[in-house]
Each structure stands twice: as structure tokens, then as C-alpha cells.
């Protein structure tokens, strides 16, 4: 499903910084993977490369059979639009749009008819248990509710891949647990491939597999045997 073949990422500036150094890994369809590591280890960079938000300096990133390196900006956008759902630490909801409109955003961008967009957005918000908050603006929602809206938006086309960057990082621990269990529940129901970047070892341990990064290298890639029993 997701393959990284000797992927490197350098940031050019006054001083060149290597964020990732010849990283290779493979994530099969339907797997729930966590990526951990200290700050600056390259976790978010790795997630951005998988999500097509950024381009690798060297090596190949292959997502669902698509080699991202050779794609144009718009082709890359289409990959994101059709195959990937993003969940951000700071939710990244558009403040002027209601919950319903935020969730419908990617569908409108795909050119879906209004009625179909509306129906799907309602369905998704019901799925994340926010059917009573449809017309609320992000400012009128709690942190957990905002993240639920963001998750609903990420699921708008039921993409095969869900990428989450510190999805609980901006929430209190109880809400964080709720969100995590929502993601896990959705993973179980939808059988999507989920990659979560996190600092939180409890979150990491709840996943099927944990990849540990340090200084741009994978230092550990382990299966979590307790994953299924962790809430």
C-alpha cells in the first residue's frame, strides 16, 4: 500500500539540514502504524512525504501503486484528494465554515453535486457523533469536537489511507483517548491504512506497529502485541 524506497529529504538554506536519510519501509493495506521519535527526528517529514504534501529529495515514495516523485502538483493533489485523508494536530478547520461545510469541502472540490455533498457530510458527522453540531462554526466547538470534525473531513471520500499528525497532541488526555478510540474504531470498520505520528507512547502502543525514528533514520520497527487490547 505504502512503500518508501531509500527516501531522503534535505532542507536547503544557509545550512543544509537532512531530515530523512535513505529511509525504506513498507506499510501493507489496512495496517495501523504509529511513528514515534524525539522532536526533529523526521516523523512529520516522513508523514508529509507519504501524504504528498512534500516531495522527497532522493528515493521513491509509492502510494497505492502511484510513484509520487514524478507527479505534477495537480496530479499529486488528485492522489491526496482520492486516496488520503489528513488529520492535523491543530485541526486546520476553516474558521468561517460550519462543521457541515468543513466536512463537505473536499467533496465540493471534487465537484460532487450539492445534495450528495450534504448527505455525505451529514453521514460522516453522524459517524463521529456530531450530528447535533452541524451548523456550528469551529470557534463554537470544543477541542475534541473540532478534531472529530477534522476526522470526518479526512474521511469524506472514505480514502484508503488516513494520516494523522499528533491527532491528540492538542487535546486533554481524556479527549485524546476518545479521539484515539474513534480513529481505531474507524480503522476497524473501514479497514483503512492508518499512519499516526505521535509523541505519546500510549498512543503508539495502541497501534499494530510502531516505527521509531532518530536523526532521520529508522532505528526500530516493531509489532505491538498488545495493540488489540489497548483502548
Amino acid at each position: 500500500m505504502i512503500t518508501l524506497d531509500r527516501v531522503g529529504k534535505q532542507f536547503e538554506g544557509k545550512r543544509n539540514v537532512t531530515a530523512l536519510d535513505t529511509v525504506s519501509l513498507s506499510i501493507p493495506r489496512g495496517e495501523l502504524v504509529s511513528i514515534v521519535g524525539p522532536s526533529g527526528s523526521g516523523k512529520s517529514t516522513l508523514l508529509n512525504l507519504i501524504g504528498g504534501l512534500d516531495r522527497a529529495t532522493t528515493g521513491d515514495v509509492i502510494v497505492d501503486g502511484e510513484r509520487l516523485g514524478g507527479l505534477s502538483d495537480d496530479a499529486l493533489t488528485r492522489v491526496r484528494r482520492d486516496k488520503i485523508g489528513f488529520i492535523f494536530q491543530f485541526f486546520n478547520l476553516l474558521p468561517t465554515l460550519t462543521a457541515l461545510e468543513n466536512v463537505g469541502l473536499p467533496l465540493h472540490l471534487r465537484g460532487w453535486p450539492r445534495a450528495k455533498v450534504d448527505a455525505r457530510a451529514r453521514e460522516l458527522l453522524t459517524l463521529v457523533q456530531l450530528d447535533h453540531r452541524l451548523t456550528h462554526l469551529p470557534d463554537e466547538l470544543s477541542g475534541g469536537e473540532r478534531q472529530r470534525v477534522a476526522i470526518a473531513r479526512a474521511l469524506s471520500v472514505y480514502p484508503p489511507i488516513l494520516l494523522a499528525d499528533e491527532p491528540t497532541g492538542n487535546l486533554d488526555s481524556r479527549t485524546g483517548e476518545d479521539i484515539l478510540s474513534l480513529i481505531r474504531g474507524l480503522h476497524d470498520r473501514l479497514q483503512s491504512t492508518v499512519v499516526i505520528v505521535t509523541h505519546d507512547m500510549k498512543v503508539a502502543a495502541s497501534c499494530d506497529r510502531t516505527i521509531t525514528l532518530r536523526d532521520g533514520h529508522i532505528v526500530e520497527d516493531a509489532r505491538n502485541v498488545h495493540a488489540a487490547t489497548t483502548p
Binding site: D54, N92, G104
Partner: protein
């Protein structure tokens, strides 16, 4: 100063485009100011230069405005005890048929009496027969002689002994170039296109009969210029002006006063708009640099230091922008000068050649000063807001763009108050200064209301935009709603520009309507017989004995003789039209606005009264029955006003008198135009052909049909209103500058939002569409508010035209055509303005955009 280097400089470097746009505001304002004024001054300078060069050693000139005077006046002047030398002069601008290019082909012919003239002017020949000059009789004996300037000779490759054809009233006449003058001060007059002819030959060639245009004189040794002025004024009476040559420059300026006022308004307007752009940029900068200001305040910077920092920034911007403005202003002045020269030549009949730019150091210094002060004044409010920033609040993250309810309410209350006061000024007080204060308050009220109106309208159009494009449309509207300050400054600048365009357009439209009405009643003969193609050139005239010849042409029913020319009335050059009033009453009957038609025509025809135009009455505050004092070479004419009529012959006003009265007082029976009525059922083109045939080979005659004359007048009117196009250009530039500025800031503010849009699947085309829709919405808001304010502005401008500029009462008609043309123009400008910001919105790192705070 250290703060400027540490804080401002890095900010400017980081926001190069915005800094350039801010500076462009001042560049625009100063450039239009300098360009317009330099061009205007260049034309005035060219006129003064010509007058000065032709004057030579002349100390005083005796003139009777444009009408000229009888030859006998020369003897009177020469008899003055204070007069040393006095020589007669005739000036005529003629077509030389020499060059393809019309402007180059015009030649200023100076008719002089070589006997005495060399005392005042130097005619040193470079080549040719010196005897022509040394012995005036040679010149006199050969009336086809001409001396031309070296400049004209070189340009047209004419050598001494060569031939030059001039258009005269006797038709195209070949002249022999007897000499070529060396380059000197004199030959540089009129851009070098100068020729000298014997004065008596000039009288004959240009239909002057027994009259001269003026007498140039030098004062006798031992007398002063003031002595001579006093003596000659007493000797000649009130119909004559006795002034130094520079006085003609002042008369020329007075004639152009309406035009100069329009130039002044245009340039001030451009500066005001420039100020708005600066204000907008600084207001945005303060909002964006809030946290930076907060840090500075937290580190101990005083309010005064912050205030000074921003004012210093604006001063630096002002200096750089003003210097750029001076440069661009001088660059555009040449083009504007050429068009003003052509306009003055066509509208006022005073041929001009502004070949050199008169760059006045004082004007440049003034523009520099105005640019800097404008910049500082514009930045004053944002700077004060910056100084008031609360450090604790500023360091907290969040948006500060939103207008608080209190601020909104305050603005509305203030706007309502100003609106009421403005209305009061208009309705209850008739004083002019109060009227202008009311006008200013009305504009101020509109400006205060702009943020709120822009916000309400943005909310109103959101559903529409969302309906057009669910994502792009909604986000574009939201961007406007979120940041009313950012939006409203651009909208306000656009609104002001358009309000001016609407007012100018409305004034032009009303003027056209009135002029067409007037032409339809006053200019109803089928044919007009004239000595030149240009109806406003009055330096070439016909003798009256042509009238019976025209009347005898088969098919002609009636011929009216018209003599018109500028005279000085209450120190203002106005138009005097002399015609057979009884005949006019029968063929082109006009009901007076004030007075009784029958009495008006009867008394004017009998030489017992004068008719005045509505604009003259308004500008000079004249009433029916009032005794008018009109100076003439034959003495002061004192006659009552017997009627006030609509007449657009001249911007400064017109007096109509009977031809007999004119001949009596001016001793001049020459004719400018024959108005020819054709018998019913007879073909007008046939009669026209017969008239041309009748005078073929004898006289230079131009016969215009009624439609041709009307088209000609409308063409002149078009040229007069060509200034409107300058306004439209400025409006479009403002639209582009303001919108680019707003959008640049908007995409910076919304970087994360646009990043999210791209992250969740927004294609480049979709992101671009969001920015385009935002720009088009700003354009649309500006258009709506601009038209609303324009409707109010038009009312005020028509009042100003009526009371203070042209004295014309123009109907209030909204210029639908101009307004309709502005819709695509402004929307296209808005779209063009959005192209670059839209491209920059789709470029750049998506990851950085998502992390942007």
C-alpha cells in the same frame, strides 16, 4: 533610527512587493501632480516664450483683446509724448501645406512694418537678399515676400529664393522666401515656425481690412513705462489694453482658468488616492506587526518611539515614492503637454507648440514636499494605532482585523451626524464656503460608512458567490467578511475614484446634451462659409462685400454676417458675437431664460441693449436690466442687459450685440462666418458646390454643412472632456494597486487556510479561482459604492460648474454609458490585479503553509 534599521528594514525586505505597492501609491499621486502641472506650465511657458520672443525690445503693447483696431490708432499712439517707437503688428497662424504632419505645418506669420520695426526686433539674415531688410521699400514693393526662420527653413528644406504656399483668404498663395533669419531669440518663437511678412500684405492676405492686431512700442528715453501706460490709457480710452508683453500671458492664463481648475482637481485627486493607498498599506502593516510591536513594547519601547518608528517609515516611503513620482511625472508630462497644446489650439483657437518642458524647480520641490507630507499624514492614524497597541493583547495570538461593535456604531453615528450637517449646509445656507464644507462632509461620511457597508455587502453576496462556486465563492466572501479593514480601504479608494469618474462623466454627458440642444436652435443654417477650416481661429477674416456675392448664388435664401472675437470684460476674456439680430430672431429664435423675447430682440437689433449668455450672467452676477459697461476701441459702451439666453460659444461667457453697433464701435466690418440659409427644396450640396465654384481662384473659402459644423463642435467638446480619460486611467490604476495590495495581504493572512484547501484536494485552478473571486468581489463592491457616491458627487460637481466654473446650468443626468463602461473596466482591472497574488497563492511550500501561524 536604530529601530528603523533593526525593525523596519527587515520587514520591508521580507515584504518587498507590499513595500513597492505602498511606494507606488505615492509615485502615482506625485507623478500625476507633476505631470499635469508641468504640462500645463509648459504650455503657458510656450505661449509666454512666443510672446516674449516676438516682443523683442517692446516695452508696452496696445491691444483691444482679440478684435484688433483701426489703423488710425497707430497715429494716436505715436503722438504720445512718452512713446519712443510704435509699430503695428498683425499675427496670423496659417497652414503652410508644407508638411504631412499638421502640427508642423502651421506657421506663425508676423505682419510688420519694416520701416520702424527693426528698432524693436532684430531680423539678421543668414542668407538671402539683405536689401529686403535694409530697404523696406523692397519688401513693400513685392507683397509676395516672406522671410522665414532658419529652424523652419531647415525643417522643410527651403532655401532663400524658394517658394512657400500659404493659405490666405484669397486662396492658396505662393510666396517667395526672400531671406532666412539667423537663429535667435525671435526665431525660436512658436517652436521655430515663424515667418515675417509686410504688414500691408498681411492685412490683405488675412482679411484684416484697415486694421491692426496691436501696436508694439518702446518708451521714449527719460519716460518710464508707467508714465507711458498712464498717458496711452488716457489717450486711447477704455477699449484698449496697454500692458507689457507679459500681460498677454496673464490673459492667456485667465482664458484657461476653467481648464487649469480641472487639471488642479485631477492632480489633487490623484494625490488623495495615493494617500489612501499609503493609509491602507500602513493600516495593514500595523495589524500584521502587532505581535512585533507587542514584543517591542514589552522590551521597553515607549509609545512615542513606536509612533516615531511608523512615521519615520512613512517619511522614508514618502521620499522614495516622491522621487520616483517626480521622475515619472516628467516622463508623462511631454505626452500630456502635447495633448493640452492640441486642446488649447482646438478649443480656444490659440495655437500652441509646447516643444520644451518647463520643469519648474519650485513645482518639483512642492511635489516632493507634498508627497512626503501626504505619506506622513496618511500613516498618522495607523502609526497612532500602533503606538496604542497593548503589549499583553498583542502577544496573544488571534485576529485583530474584526471591527468591534463599538467602533462600528461610532462610525455610523459619526457618519449620520456628518450626513445631516452636510445636508443642512446644502439646504439651509447659500454661502459658497459652507457649500464646499458640506460637500467635504458628505464625502467624509461616505468614507466612514465604507467599512460597514463593505461588510454588509460582503455578507449579502456570500450566498450568491457560494451558489456560483460552493468552496471558492464561500471562501472569497469569507475573506472579505473576516477582514473588513483590509477590504474596506481598497473599496473606499475605488469608490472615490469611481465617484469622480461618475461626476465627470455626468458633467460631460449633461454638457453634450445642452450643447446639442443649443446647436439645434442657434446653429440652424444649412451652410457656414468660413475663411479657415478651424472655426475657433479668428485671425483670418472675410471682407463684408462677399455677402451679396453669396446671396446671389442660386438656391441661397438668406445670408447672415457674423463677427466674433474675444474682448476683455471685467478683466476676463469673454466672447463677443456681432450679428444682424433681427435676422437672427427670424431664423434662429431663442426664448430667453430671463427677459421677454420680443423686447430682447427689438432692443438688441436697435442697438439699445445687449443679450448675454446664461454662463456670463452667472459668473459675473449680471441681472436683467443692469447697465453693462463694455470697453471698445470707440469708447465705453453702456447698454442695459435686455435678455439672458443659453449660449455655449465660450466657457467664460458671451455677449451678443447687433452688427451695426459693433461696426460703429470697432470700426471693423470684417466677417468671421457667413451663415447661409438654403431655399426649401433646393439641394444643400448643390448650393455648397456653387458657393465654392463662385469663389474658386479668388478666395480661400471653406463651406461646412450644418452636420459638419455640429460634428466639429462635438469633437472639440470631446477633446475638452478628454481629461475624463485621465480620471478613468487613474481609477483603473487605483483599482489595480489597491486590489493587489489587499490580495497580497489576504493571501499572507490566509496562507494556512489556502494550505488546508490544497491539502484536502484543492487544485491550483480552484485556489486561483478563490483569489480571483475575492478580487472581483472587491471590484464589485467598489463599483456599487462608487456609483452611489458618484450620484451624490455629480450633484455637487454640477453645482460647482454652475456657480463657480462655467456658469452653465446643466441637467442632472446619470452617465449610464460611462458607468456601464466602468463595470467591465474595473472588473477586468480587478482580475488583472489578482493574477499575481493568485499565482503566489498556489506556489510555495504546502508544509510551511500548514504550519503558518
Amino acid at each position: 533610527m536604530i529601530l528603523l534599521r533593526l525593525i523596519s528594514w527587515p520587514y520591508f525586505r521580507r515584504h518587498v512587493l507590499r513595500t513597492l505597492l505602498t511606494t507606488a501609491g505615492i509615485v502615482l499621486g506625485v507623478a500625476v501632480f507633476v505631470g499635469m502641472h508641468t504640462a500645463n506650465q509648459s504650455v503657458l511657458f510656450a505661449f509666454s516664450h512666443t510672446v516674449d520672443r516676438i516682443a523683442g525690445k517692446t516695452e508696452l503693447q496696445v491691444t483691444a483683446a482679440e478684435t484688433g483696431f483701426d489703423e488710425s490708432v497707430l497715429e494716436k499712439v505715436q503722438s504720445g509724448s512718452t512713446v519712443g517707437v510704435a509699430v503695428p503688428v498683425i499675427e496670423a497662424v496659417v497652414d503652410t501645406r508644407q508638411l504631412e504632419n499638421g502640427a508642423q505645418g502651421n506657421l506663425l506669420v508676423l505682419g510688420i512694418d519694416m520701416t520702424g520695426d527693426r528698432t524693436l526686433r532684430d531680423y539678421e539674415l543668414e542668407s538671402g537678399d539683405d536689401a529686403v531688410i535694409d530697404d523696406p521699400l523692397v519688401f513693400l514693393a513685392r507683397p509676395d515676400s516672406l522671410i522665414i526662420s532658419k529652424e523652419f527653413a531647415d525643417r522643410n528644406h527651403i532655401a532663400s529664393g524658394g517658394m512657400l504656399t500659404l493659405g490666405t483668404i484669397e486662396g492658396d498663395k505662393p510666396f517667395t522666401v526672400r531671406g532666412i533669419m539667423k537663429s535667435s531669440g525671435l526665431t525660436s518663437a512658436f517652436g521655430g515656425n515663424l515667418a515675417i511678412m509686410d504688414i500691408y500684405a498681411a492685412q490683405k492676405m488675412f482679411g484684416r481690412g484697415q486694421s491692426f492686431d496691436r501696436v508694439d512700442l518702446a518708451v521714449k528715453d527719460g519716460s518710464t513705462i508707467a508714465d507711458a501706460q498712464r498717458e496711452l490709457r488716457a489717450l486711447l480710452g477704455p477699449g484698449f489694453d496697454v500692458d507689457p508683453p507679459s500681460g498677454r500671458g496673464q490673459q492667456f492664463e485667465a482664458m484657461l482658468s476653467a481648464y487649469s481648475m480641472m487639471v488642479g482637481v485631477s492632480s489633487l485627486f490623484a494625490l488623495f488616492i495615493g494617500m489612501f493607498i499609503i493609509y491602507n498599506s500602513f493600516a495593514i502593516a500595523v495589524t500584521q506587526r502587532r505581535s512585533e510591536i507587542g514584543v517591542l513594547r514589552a522590551l521597553g519601547a515607549t509609545r512615542g518611539q513606536i509612533l516615531r518608528l511608523f512615521l519615520l517609515e512613512s517619511a522614508v516611503t514618502g521620499v522614495i515614492g516622491s522621487i520616483g513620482g517626480l521622475f515619472f511625472g516628467i516622463l508623462i508630462a511631454q505626452g500630456i503637454a502635447a495633448s493640452i497644446g492640441a486642446l488649447i489650439s482646438d478649443v480656444y483657437g490659440v495655437a500652441q507648440r509646447a516643444d520644451e518642458l518647463a520643469t519648474n524647480p519650485n513645482l518639483l520641490a512642492l511635489a516632493l514636499g507634498i508627497g512626503i507630507v501626504t505619506s506622513i499624514v496618511a500613516a498618522a492614524i495607523p502609526a497612532r494605532n500602533a503606538a496604542r497597541v497593548d503589549p499583553v493583547q498583542a502577544l496573544q495570538k488571534g485576529k485583530y482585523q474584526v471591527l468591534s461593535a463599538g467602533e462600528s456604531r461610532l462610525r455610523v453615528v459619526l457618519a449620520a451626524l456628518l450626513g445631516v450637517v452636510s445636508l443642512g449646509c446644502l439646504l439651509f445656507v447659500s454661502s459658497r464656503p459652507i457649500f464646499y464644507i458640506g460637500y467635504f462632509l458628505a464625502i467624509l461620511a461616505a468614507l466612514l460608512l465604507t467599512p460597514l457597508l463593505a461588510l454588509l455587502m460582503s455578507r449579502a453576496i456570500r450566498p450568491l458567490l457560494k451558489w456560483i462556486r460552493p468552496v471558492e465563492g464561500a471562501l472569497a466572501a469569507d475573506s472579505l467578511i473576516q477582514a473588513p479593514r483590509r477590504t474596506s480601504a481598497s473599496v473606499a479608494a475605488l469608490m472615490l475614484s469611481l465617484a469622480l469618474v461618475v461626476a465627470f462623466g455626468g458633467m460631460a454627458r449633461a454638457s453634450y446634451d445642452s450643447i446639442i440642444d443649443w446647436m439645434n436652435t442657434a446653429l440652424n443654417p444649412e451652410l457656414f462659409v468660413m475663411p479657415t477650416q478651424n472655426i475657433v481661429i479668428r485671425t483670418v477674416r472675410f471682407p463684408p462685400d462677399m455677402a451679396p456675392a453669396i446671396a446671389s448664388v442660386p438656391g441661397v435664401e438668406r445670408v447672415q454676417l457674423v463677427r466674433d472675437g474675444r474682448v476683455t470684460f471685467r478683466k476676463t476674456p469673454i466672447m463677443l458675437v456681432a450679428v444682424d439680430v433681427m435676422s437672427l430672431a427670424e431664423t434662429a429664435h431663442r426664448d430667453p431664460i430671463v427677459g421677454d423675447a420680443a423686447t430682447m430682440y427689438r432692443k438688441t437689433a436697435a442697438g439699445e441693449g445687449l443679450m448675454v449668455s446664461e454662463n456670463l450672467a452667472q459668473l459675473q452676477n449680471l441681472k436683467l436690466g443692469e447697465i453693462l459697461e463694455l470697453p471698445s476701441p470707440g469708447g465705453m459702451i453702456r447698454l442695459p442687459i435686455v435678455g439672458i439666453v443659453v449660449d455655449y460659444s465660450d466657457q467664460q461667457g458671451t455677449i451678443l450685440m447687433d452688427r451695426k453697433l459693433f461696426i460703429k464701435h470697432w470700426n471693423d466690418d470684417s466677417v468671421n462666418v457667413f451663415r447661409v440659409y438654403v431655399k426649401k427644396g433646393v439641394s444643400v450640396p448643390d448650393v455648397r458646390a456653387r458657393i465654392l465654384e463662385r469663389f474658386a481662384g479668388q478666395r480661400q473659402v471653406f463651406v461646412l454643412t450644418n452636420n459638419e459644423l455640429k460634428r466639429y463642435i462635438l469633437k472639440i467638446t470631446d477633446q475638452w472632456f478628454s481629461l475624463t480619460s485621465v480620471q478613468i486611467t487613474v481609477a483603473v490604476l487605483v483599482a489595480i494597486l489597491g486590489i493587489v495590495n489587499t490580495l497580497t495581504v489576504s493571501i499572507t493572512d490566509r496562507r494556512r487556510e489556502l494550505g488546508v484547501l490544497r491539502a484536502v484536494g484543492g487544485l491550483h485552478a480552484q485556489i486561483r479561482r478563490t483569489i480571483w473571486m475575492e478580487a472581483l468581489s472587491i471590484g464589485a463592491l467598489g463599483l456599487v459604492l462608487g456609483f452611489l457616491l458618484g450620484a451624490i458627487n455629480l450633484y455637487y460637481v454640477l453645482q460647482i460648474v454652475h456657480h463657480d466654473i462655467a456658469g452653465m446650468r446643466l441637467d442632472y443626468v446619470l452617465p449610464i454609458g460611462t458607468a456601464a463602461a466602468m463595470v467591465p473596466t474595473i472588473l477586468a482591472a480587478a482580475f488583472i490585479a489578482a493574477l499575481w497574488p493568485a499565482e503566489s497563492a498556489v506556489r510555495g511550500s504546502l508544509v510551511e503553509a500548514l504550519e503558518y501561524e
